[in-house]
Every structure is written in structure tokens, then in C-alpha cells.
């Protein structure tokens, strides 16, 4: 079995993760973790939808930020996709999408403050980069033949509208709808840095021990995402898009002096700002690297590798839950419900809840990342097994799982997993804001201490780390000849 490159790669990653577990800080530090979990569970079972009107407002704001952000992102992404063949454009897109929405929000908060623009841009900017990449991939895959057959001297715009767009339309629409769902999750977690979306409401309910309020919020969020096919209709979309900007709320006015100061003073490294020598600058740089960047990178990488393997194991365990090759309709329905809940809860919210229950360590982060990403991959793989036709006398039970199904889906499983590697790392970095010592922790502390120069340097390092992992993931996928589709 070890002669298969895919199996060898899996074992190498497993070994790295086990090594990571040795050095990682995995513990439950709270006195009564299970009692808290029980209280949260009771909260979900006895949701209180009517405690304040804040809940509805938060829901409306979450929708509004998602719609405006994703609309702007898809428009900019579309324009960027048209010029994506130019290397500087590709590099620019890779850079803006390697910085997480929450980091963008933290940056904009420093100079726009709690203005709606902060939330909108925090979603629109990274999404532009993602849309540009995926749209351009869709354009590339389109059938080139109709374009070749056009009369010469056909205008470029006419040619694009007739020979390219119609062929790509369905895929673009599917992907944009999927991104809108992601946008809702992004919008919800923006509340954790203080914007008026669901995350804000959740955090305040939790800190006051109002578990029934928190439960109501979670349930509403699941319903919102699960019913998307019902209310996101092509005919209604223009209405949503036009209306959304009016529901963003007012926030606080922008002080333009702050914007100027941020760029001309705050983010300039302190030694340069104070006109100190080059030696001071390198000492400053060395200090950031040794005391913040390197520990942050180390913890981020360790946590990412553990979470990646945990995600893989969980997906392999979870996909039979919705596969029609096992069990009856009752088990499959509950399997679907479990996977929908797992994948529609943002990692950040899962990690936040688990952290409240178990106390700060890497454990809540690993479990949150594995649940969310495992839910997504398990769902995709399970759906894939439903199109597999087994011979009538195929073995049943565990033999069916291990001999018939896993070997058939293993390659696409790995493809999805390596595709999500970079996403897991981006999330890992951001979970630092919750108090786990990944890069986000150091970014957040630098901002708390009003040392924006350090924060920007650390965000830059995080972005480079993500770009590196993305490239490595693509290299491994190519090496193992794994194919992926963009919708994942």
C-alpha cells in the first residue's frame, strides 16, 4: 500500500500532525467544562427569540453586510478576472485574498472606526481576490471553439458577451451563490471585532451567561443558511442588492484625519518614524521577529497541521453519514442535519464557544477547525459516493466502506483536503484573536497596544505564510495529479 504516492503523502502528514501533538498545548483548563456544555445545549433547546430587538437588527445587519460586501467583491473580482493573465494582477489578487476578513476589519477599524465601510470593505477586498481567481479559472475552462468561429473583426466585447459569458454563466452563478453563503458567515463573525452583526450579539449573550439568547441566535443563523435556496432567487436578487446598503446602519462618522495619520504615521515602523538609525530599525525588526513573528508562525503551523489531519479523519468518518450505500433514511437525515450544522457554523464561532467551555488551549481550535472543514469535505465526498454504482453483490458494512468506497473517493478527498489547507491556515491565524497563541494573537495584542507598525508587519508575514502554503498545496496536488473544482 505504501507504494501509492497518495498513501505515502497521507502517512507523512499524519506523522507531522502526531509530532505536532507532542509539542502542542492541548488541555481542558476550565473547572466544569461539561456543565457549561450542558448549559449551552439547554440554551439551544430553549431558545429565547424575544429577549431584545437586538437579535433581529443583528440578523438584518449580517445580511446587509454580506450582500453589499459580496456584490462589490464579485463586481471587482469579475473586472480583475478579465486581466488575470497579467502577473502583477495575479500577485495582487493572491495578496488581498491571503489576508483574512477579520484582519482587514481590524485594519479598517483603526482609521474608519465603526463605520459601515469597515465591514463592507473587510468582506469585499478578500472576496475580490477570490472571485478574480475562480472566475478566471471558469473563463479558461470554457469551450474556445465558438470564439474561434466568430467572424474576424468582431469586437472584443461582443465576442466576450456571446462566446464566453453564456458558456460560463451557470458555473459563475453557482459559485457566486456559494460565496454569498460564505459571505454570511464572514459577516456574522465580523461582530467579534465590534461590528453590529450576529457575532457581536453572540459574544455579549455569552459573556452575560444568556445561553438561551445565544441559542436563539445560532438557530436563526442555521435557518437563514439552510433556507438560502428558497429566498435567494434570481428575481429577488436585484431587490436585495439595491436594498442592502440602506440596512448597514450608520455607525460613527469617519474622521479623515485618522485615515491620513494611519498611513503616514501609525504604520510606519517606529524607528523610522522617530528618525532613528538603521541599527535601531534592524533591532526593532529583530525584536518583532524573535518575540512575536516566529512563535506565532510556529504555533500557527503546528495548529494548522494538527487541524488539517483532524479534518481529514473527521471527513472520512463523516461521509458515510449521508452516503446512500449505508443505513436507512432516518440515519441519513440526521447525518445531513449534523453536517449542515457543522459546515454552516463559522470556525470562529465554534472556536469561540468551545473556548468558553474548555478554556484557552489549542484543543478548541483544533476541534472547531476539524468540525467545520470536516463537515464541508464530508458533505462533498458523501455526495460523490451517491453517484457510485456498486455491483449488486458488493460487500456490506465496514468492508464496503474500506474496500469499495474509500479507495474510490480517496483521491478527490485528498484534493479537497489540500485545497482547504490554505483556508485552514488562514483561519488558524485568525483564531489567535480568541487567545490562542497563533499569529492573530500577536496581531491583536499589537493593535491593543496601539503599535500598528508591528501589527501591519505581522499581518504581512501572515499573508506571506498563506501564499506559501497555497503554493505548496498546489504543488502537492499537481505532484499527486489531484484535481479539484473551485466550489469547495
Amino acid at each position: 500500500m505504501l507504494s501509492y504516492p497518495t498513501v505515502r503523502a497521507s502517512f507523512i502528514f499524519l506523522a507531522i500532525a502526531l509530532g505536532g501533538l507532542m509539542v502542542a498545548d492541548i488541555a481542558i483548563t476550565t473547572a466544569n467544562p461539561w456543565q457549561d456544555l450542558g448549559r449551552l445545549f439547554m440554551g439551544v433547546v430553549t431558545p429565547n427569540f424575544f429577549s431584545t430587538e437586538g437579535l433581529l437588527t443583528a440578523l438584518l445587519r449580517t445580511l446587509a453586510f454580506a450582500f453589499v460586501g459580496v456584490t462589490l467583491g464579485s463586481l471587482c473580482g469579475f473586472l480583475l478576472a478579465l486581466v488575470y493573465r497579467f502577473l502583477p494582477v495575479r500577485m495582487f489578487c493572491a495578496f488581498i485574498r491571503s489576508i483574512h476578513e477579520l484582519f482587514w476589519a481590524l485594519i479598517f477599524l483603526q482609521f474608519f472606526g465603526f463605520h459601515p465601510l469597515t465591514g463592507v470593505l473587510a468582506i469585499a477586498i478578500p472576496y475580490s481576490g477570490i472571485f478574480a481567481k475562480v472566475y478566471s479559472e471558469i473563463f479558461e475552462e470554457a469551450d474556445p471553439e465558438p470564439g474561434r468561429l466568430l467572424p474576424p473583426y468582431t469586437g472584443a466585447i461582443s465576442a466576450f458577451l456571446y462566446a464566453k459569458i453564456p458558456d460560463c454563466w451557470v458555473q459563475m452563478r453557482t459559485y457566486t451563490a456559494y460565496r454569498l453563503e460564505c459571505g454570511l458567515r464572514s459577516s456574522a463573525i465580523l461582530g467579534f471585532v465590534g461590528l453590529p452583526t450576529l457575532g457581536f450579539y453572540l459574544e455579549s449573550s455569552f459573556s452575560q451567561g444568556l445561553y438561551s439568547d445565544a441559542g436563539a441566535m445560532l438557530i436563526l443563523f442555521y435557518i437563514l443558511i439552510a433556507t438560502m435556496p428558497l429566498w435567494v432567487r434570481p428575481k429577488l436578487l436585484p431587490l436585495y442588492i439595491v436594498a442592502a446598503p440602506f440596512f448597514l446602519g450608520d455607525g460613527l462618522p469617519i474622521v479623515w484625519g485618522n485615515v491620513e495619520r494611519f498611513f503616514t504615521e501609525d504604520i510606519v515602523p517606529a524607528p523610522i518614524r522617530n528618525g532613528e538609525s538603521l541599527g535601531e530599525l534592524s533591532a526593532w525588526f529583530g525584536d518583532v521577529m524573535v518575540n512575536e513573528a516566529l512563535p506565532g508562525i510556529w504555533n500557527t503551523v503546528v495548529l494548522t497541521q494538527i487541524a488539517l489531519v483532524a479534518t481529514g479523519i473527521l471527513s472520512l468518518l463523516a461521509f458515510p453519514l449521508i452516503s446512500r450505500h449505508f443505513g436507512g433514511p432516518v440515519r441519513r437525515t440526521s447525518g445531513h442535519v449534523f453536517l449542515v450544522i457543522a459546515r454552516s457554523t463559522p470556525e470562529y464561532i465554534l472556536a469561540y464557544i468551545l473556548l468558553q467551555l474548555w478554556g484557552p488551549s489549542m484543543l478548541p481550535a483544533v476541534v472547531a477547525l476539524a468540525l467545520h472543514n470536516g463537515g464541508i469535505i464530508g458533505h462533498l465526498i458523501g455526495r460523490q459516493t451517491n453517484s457510485i454504482h456498486l455491483r449488486p453483490d458488493a460487500p456490506t458494512g465496514f468492508s464496503r466502506y474500506s474496500w469499495e468506497l474509500v479507495p474510490r473517493v480517496y483521491r478527490s478527498f485528498l484534493a479537497f483536503l489540500f485545497y482547504r489547507w490554505e483556508i485552514i491556515m488562514r483561519e488558524t491565524a485568525i483564531l489567535g484573536i480568541l487567545g490562542i497563541y497563533t499569529l492573530g494573537f500577536y496581531v491583536d495584542s499589537a493593535i491593543q497596544n496601539i503599535r500598528f507598525d508591528r501589527a501591519m508587519l505581522l499581518i504581512l508575514i501572515t499573508a506571506l505564510l498563506n501564499i506559501g502554503i497555497d503554493a505548496l498545496g498546489r504543488y502537492i496536488r499537481r505532484k499527486l495529479a489531484l484535481q479539484t473544482m473551485p466550489t469547495c
Binding site: P146, G155, S158, Y162, A163
Partner: protein
């Protein structure tokens, strides 16, 4: 007599020479049938000729090159995208103009698919799709036709009608055909391709089907 000269036509696929080097002269007003067994290089030759002739030729490739998501009307209209400004084409995509509708309906009527005008190309049968590609080539109104098995999915009488239409509407045509009787009936020159080379080149008049069978 004026015509079209092609020199040094060659094509390779994965290092393997599949066409040529060969040269060809086609007179204006001539209808040429390319025959030969499959894999002989007919499609490659048609594609090479299209690259040389682009300005003057309408092409019906074997894959048809339809935009599946667009209705038949727009697939045919694409043959004249160069005749109108961009705003006109864009508006047509949303709501076609009256004159264009009529012109294309008349053309589709000649091909017996007038009722399919607003149906997406994806939902048509093989024979209907082939006729849409033929309509697009006719609508293009180019002097030369390059076609690769344009009647392969059509039944007898329809195939006859289409061959007649194509040889009437285009002053010059080069058509790859596997149906030798059709080639002899509607073309006036037969070129046989074997292993990427011209193995036979004669007026259709003096030929009978058995003369050509030696190529297969």
C-alpha cells in the same frame, strides 16, 4: 482564373506529422470534396485552411462550436457579430431587433427548424444542432465554406437539401465528407487524403464510387 493558393500546409500532433507538407490550389467557384478514411487528416486540413482563410471563410467544424446556453437565434446571429456595433450586439442579446428576427427565421425555415428559434442549443437533437451550425455559416455570408462532415447527423432527403443549399449559397466550398455518393453528386472536384498526403485529385465528373474506395 483566380482562386486560393495554399503552400506548405503541415501539422504535427505530439511529434507525429499528420498533414503534409502539401500544397493546394482551389479555383474560385469550385466545390471540393475531401474524402479519405477517418484519421487520414481531413479535419486537421480543414482547420489549417481556416487559419489561412479566416477573413473569407465560414467554418462548420465537426464539434459544431455552438454556445449551448444561448438560443438558436443567437447562435446563428453570431455569424454577423462583426457587422454591428457593440451596443447593437449587446441589445440583441437581451432583445433581438425585428429585422434580424425575420431574417434568421427565414433562414431557419429553409433548414426546417424555424420553430426552434428561441430554444437553447443545449436541448436540441444532434441533427438539429448540426443545422444550427449550418445556419450560422450561411448567415455569415462569406465567399468560401469550409465544412467538416456537415451532414453526418442528417437523414437522406434533408442531407440532399442541405448539400444543395451549401453548394448554391457559397461560391467556393471545401467540404470533408465520408459519404462518397454525396461527394460525387454535389461537388465538382474530389481530393482524396491518405496519411496526410493528397492521394487522389480529380474532377468528380469522370469518377465513380469504386475509384475512390481504394483510399479506404
Amino acid at each position: 482564373m483566380t482562386g486560393f493558393d495554399f503552400h506548405g500546409l503541415t501539422a504535427s500532433f505530439e511529434g507525429q506529422r499528420v498533414i503534409g507538407p502539401l500544397s493546394l490550389h482551389v479555383n474560385e467557384g469550385e466545390h471540393v470534396a475531401l474524402v479519405g478514411k477517418s484519421g487520414a487528416g481531413k479535419s486537421t486540413l480543414i482547420s489549417l485552411l481556416y487559419d489561412r482563410l479566416k477573413q473569407q471563410a465560414a467554418l462548420i467544424p465537426q464539434g459544431l462550436g455552438l454556445v449551448n446556453a444561448l438560443p438558436v437565434f443567437h447562435n446563428v446571429f453570431m455569424g454577423q457579430l462583426d457587422q454591428h456595433p457593440t451596443w447593437y450586439n449587446t441589445l440583441t442579446l437581451i432583445r433581438p431587433f425585428h429585422d434580424d428576427r425575420n431574417a434568421i427565421r427565414a433562414l431557419l425555415g429553409e433548414l426546417d427548424i424555424a420553430e426552434k428559434q428561441w430554444i437553447p442549443a443545449a436541448t436540441l437533437s444532434g441533427g438539429q444542432r448540426q443545422r444550427v451550425a449550418i445556419a450560422r455559416a450561411l448567415y455569415r455570408q462569406a465567399p468560401v465554406l469550409l465544412a467538416d462532415e456537415p451532414i453526418s447527423a442528417l437523414d437522406g432527403p434533408m442531407a440532399q437539401r442541405i448539400m444543395k443549399l451549401l453548394t448554391e449559397r457559397f461560391s467556393t466550398s471545401i467540404i470533408a465528407l465520408h459519404d462518397i455518393d454525396m461527394a460525387l453528386a454535389y461537388c465538382d472536384r474530389i481530393i482524396g487524403i491518405q496519411d496526410g498526403q493528397v492521394a487522389l485529385d480529380q474532377p468528380a465528373k469522370g469518377l465513380v464510387a469504386s475509384d475512390i474506395m481504394s483510399l479506404y
